[in-house]
Amino acid sequence: MIFLWTLNPVGSQSQAIFAVYLSIDLIMFAMVSYIFRVSKWGEEVRRLPLFAGCVTLLILLYVGLALW
C-alpha cells in the first residue's frame, strides 16, 4: 500500500500499475480463501487452480514491474 501510495494517481501508467497490483492482491486472497475453505471441508486441495493462480501472479508481477 505504501508502494502504491507513492504512485502518481493521475497518470494513466500509474493507474495501470495500481490496477495490476490490486488484482494481484485479489488473486492472492482468492487462492488463500480456496485453500482455507477446501481444507475446512476435508476435501483435497486441487493443484491445478493453485498452479494457474501462481502462474498468473508471476505474469502480473512481471507486468507490474515492466510498467514501472
Binding site: 494517481p9 493521475v10 494513466s12 493507474q15 490496477a19 494481484i24 485479489l26 480463501s33
Partner: protein, 506 residues
Amino acid sequence: MSGSEDDHSKETGLVERLVGWFDSRLGLSHELLRPAPRYSINPFYWLGALAVVAFVIQGISGSIMLLYYVPSPATAYASTLYIFQNVSYGQFLETVHLYTAYAMIMLAFMHMMRGFFVSVHKKPREIMWVTGMGMGFVTLGFGFTGYLLPWTVVSYSATKVGTAMIGALPQPVSSFINFLLVGNGGDAGQLLRFFDLHIVVLPAVLLVLLAVKMYMLETHGVSEPVTGEAPDLKKHSKLIPIFPDVSFYLLELAALFGAAMLLISVLFPLSLPVAYSPAAAGQSVPQPDWYFLWIYQIIKISAFEQAGLSAALSFVTLIFVLLTILPFIDRGVTRRISRRPWYVTIGLVFIAEVIVLTIWGQKTPGQVIPDAQGILVLGGTAIAVCIIAFNTYRLLGRRSTNQPLPTPTSSPRSEAGRIHSASIWASVIFVAVLGLGAFSIGGLINSIVVMATFGTNEMEAVTLALSTAALAVSVVGACFLLYRLDLGRGRIKRRVKVFEVGWNQN
C-alpha cells in the same frame, strides 16, 4: 480456568478465532440464511450473485464519481473530463465503472439463460423468475440511462436512437415513457431525469426486487441439479453453512471477478469521445451500445426501417413478454435438458440470433439491411442451430434408449447402408423443411408489413397466400418427420394414421 482457555485458544487458528469472534457478536451462523447444498458450490449457481457484486462495484465507483460530476448539458462533459484528467485514479474509476456495467449485463444474461436451460422457472419458483426478469430490465435500464451521462457525441446520438424507438411504441405507453425519460425540459430535463433514474430510482427498484428474490430463495432454497425427476436431497452431499463457508466461496468468486475487471481495465483503457454538439453529431453514425445492438439491427432491416418500426418494436416486446411469462407457458414437469428438446432448441436459437445480430450490427453501422439478407442471415442461423440441436438429441436419444433405427430385416451390410441412407435423406428433408419455413416466415412478415404500410394490392395478397401455404407445409412437414422419428423409437402415445402412410411395421 484461564490456563485451559489459553490452551484452547492456542489450538484454534487465527482465522477460526476471527470468524468465531464475528459469529458470536453478529450471530451470523445462527439461521441467517439457510445452508447451501454442496452441489451449489459451482460458479454457475452464483452468476446472479456475481451480478450483485458488479452492482456493488458500480455503486462504489459511481459514488466517488458523483463527487465531481455535474448533470447539466453545459457541464456534464466538462466534469467527466475533469474526472478523467484531474481526479486521483479518475480514468481508472471511469474505466472500471464502464466495464463492470458491461459485465453486470452479461452476467444477468448468463444467469437468465442458465436458469432457462435448467428450468428454474418451474414450480415453485415462477415468481422468482418473473422477479429476476424485472431485475434484468432494470439492469438494462442502468445501461441505457448511464450511457447518456458523459454527454459525448456517441452517447447523445445513441440515446436519441433509443428515445426515438420509444416514440414508435403504441400510445399511451409511448407518452408515459417519454414523460418519464424526457419530460418537458428538453436536453437539460432529459439529462436530469436520466441522472435521477440512474442513481436513485433504478437502484432502489433493484434493491427491492433483490430483497424479494432473496426472500424467495430462502423460502425455496437452491434449485436441485437436473439429474432426475424427483431428486433425493439426502443423496446429495452435505449442507454447507452460509457463514463462514459459503461466504468465503462468494468472496473468492468476487475477488476473481474484481481482478478480471481490473485487468480488463488495464488492457482496454477508456478514452472519452468528443463532446456532443450538433456539428459533431452530424458527422457521427448513431449506434447504441452493444447490449442493444441486436434490437437495433432488427429495426434496421428494410421492412421495419420506416413505417414498420412499430411492428419491429412490438416483435421485440413480444420476445421480452414471452421470456417473462415463461413459467406460465412451459408448464411441463420435467426439468431434464434431454427431455426438453423444443425449449432447449428455442433457447439456443435465441442466443445464436442475439450474438449474430450484435456482431452484424457492429459490422454494419448505419446501414439499412435488405430484407433478403435479413432472412438469409437470421433464417440460416436458426436452421444451423436447429440442425445441430436435432442431431444432438438424436444421438442422445439413441444412446439413452439403445434402440436401433427400425428397418426391414436383411443382410447386416445392406441394413447398415439403408440406415445410413435413411439418415442422410431424413437430414436433407429436414433441412429443406426448415429452410422453407424460415423463408415463408420472412415472406409472411414482409407481406403483412408492406400491406399495413402501403395498403393491399394483388401482388402482396398473392405473396401473403403463398407464404402462408409454404409455412403450413413446412410445419406439417416438420411434424411428419418428427412423428416418424418417434414412431421408429416406439415413443408415440397417440397414433396419427395419415403420418404413417408407407410405414413398414415389420
